[in-house]
Symmetry: C2
Subunit: 332 residues, 2 copies
Amino acid sequence: MNNEEIKDTINLMSNNSNQTDKFATLNKVINEKTGNRNDNIMKTAIIQQSNNAGIDTNKAKLAKNIAECAKNGAELIVLQELHNSLYFCQVEDVNYFDLAETIPGPSTKFYGQLAKKHGVVLVTSLFEKRAAGLYHNTAVVFENDGSIAGTYRKMHIPDDPGFYEKFYFTPGDMGFHPIQTSVGKLGVLVCWDQWYPEAARMMALAGAEVLIYPTAIGWDMHDEEDERERQRDAWVTVQRGHAVANGLPVIAVNRVGTEEDPTGQSEGINFWGNSFVAGPQGEFLYEATTHKEENKIIKIDLKRSEDVRRIWPFLRDRRIDEYKEITKRFRD
Amino acid sequence: MNNEEIKDTINLMSNNSNQTDKFATLNKVINEKTGNRNDNIMKTAIIQQSNNAGIDTNKAKLAKNIAECAKNGAELIVLQELHNSLYFCQVEDVNYFDLAETIPGPSTKFYGQLAKKHGVVLVTSLFEKRAAGLYHNTAVVFENDGSIAGTYRKMHIPDDPGFYEKFYFTPGDMGFHPIQTSVGKLGVLVCWDQWYPEAARMMALAGAEVLIYPTAIGWDMHDEEDERERQRDAWVTVQRGHAVANGLPVIAVNRVGTEEDPTGQSEGINFWGNSFVAGPQGEFLYEATTHKEENKIIKIDLKRSEDVRRIWPFLRDRRIDEYKEITKRFRD
């Protein structure tokens, strides 16, 4: 606080009659002036939904879901990866570049207005057109006044049958930086990033208060059921592991439903849902179903992260003198 | 193979009558000469046991358990952390430095003889006296001929009430290097290392075929049961996460039983056992009880790691250009 703000605070305090009120007022003013929140509870909503080929239909459904979550008290709302459209990366087709938009652009206007209207911080995932022939998979975070709080360009890009992302997305060049918002400092990463402990650690070291993963991951239904279960469980486990290793909550939001392979070569992808929120010991705060659309509000206690880091001070003991070769492709 | 070895091989082959036999012989000889194994199955034993104040009693029990595991087909046997004694770090007492031994020393002689006698690769965990006033928590791996295959000095040293390890152990100065043995390249780490994704990654990048954690971790029984469960589950989860992130099996061996606090200030530590082996997707191959002594043989298919890494090629897409700040204490 600067001197002017302290004077304001004292003036405000003098209008209150008793000591308790004065401290409450002081606390509120300090929090408002410093951007601190009045409590440590972050009311977070996840929206897990299925998509179809109609962009406007998907966006309208999201608008409705966002309104519902806000009405139910959400302060932060997290959407799944590439929520405007079908998961178009099942095939390599230059026509799909038509789906990409500039940032800012029509979609950031649309979601910015929703964030403002409902007074929520909103984490979105867009197909960014940076230039002709240069596209990214980009998360855009909106402040609750509708402004863009920050963006993150997906750093790790997958490529395997049915997930041809290297064709569409240039790997991010903005590094790993959390985005400051009124609800906290958000370590926003995207999908394939979730398999990389380095990404989570980079965000934690930069002061992220929560790790957030919009995702689009699913099963090839030709795989046996036990293999499908191992995959789903591995996906949950590695992200819960990031929560534990960094003493941070994790929010992962995935889509549901089956989307056809436009080439007809495969049976498409069955997106496994299972969006979840874990606390800083990796404990489940919520775990969604694998097949249903869901809007869910989860209260995340940000204070608990420091409590956990006090009993498990992993950051204290890191051997930073010996990690240098993590920047090598392989130690051979 | 050198020329002499190739000659030997051809001589051996000429003693066989048919083509199939010749190839089988060639394969066997090449494997023997090059140190490759004839199959991809690593028959691994874990010994989860409780200890008492009698060093000789503990060692005798271990010798009996090692013999039993070898008899049942184990090729690799992994012991828990500091298996010779009680977990003495519950209190800071200079007299406990008497427990430390040089490497090589009496304990390496004892375990080397057992490894040779039973023809097994043996992972042990010793209190190393390097010099007067300089001690380490050191894993020693024995080859199946009784020789020392390699050592690893615990790199991350914890210190919290009841686990005063910073008093006893100087942090390791040998870095993260897997140990080559006849059963595979072992990424041996110790206990507190298990919370650090960097340690697992460094081992994986150096070609480790399996991650191994001798451990001594337990509950403060004053904690509520739900907190105790979160801790145990976090411990399992973060290590399964290393398996997933690196596409490698993980072997964790912990002790069981309650050991008193010599100061009487606390109720001691209830070691939670729960030793486990996970495959390269983090899937459980075995999970021990939280309260019983157990010898268990688990077959680990090392070939599966490459299969998993082919469908999830995380090593392909690492953003090594952007991980540099992992070597910072904090990115502030």
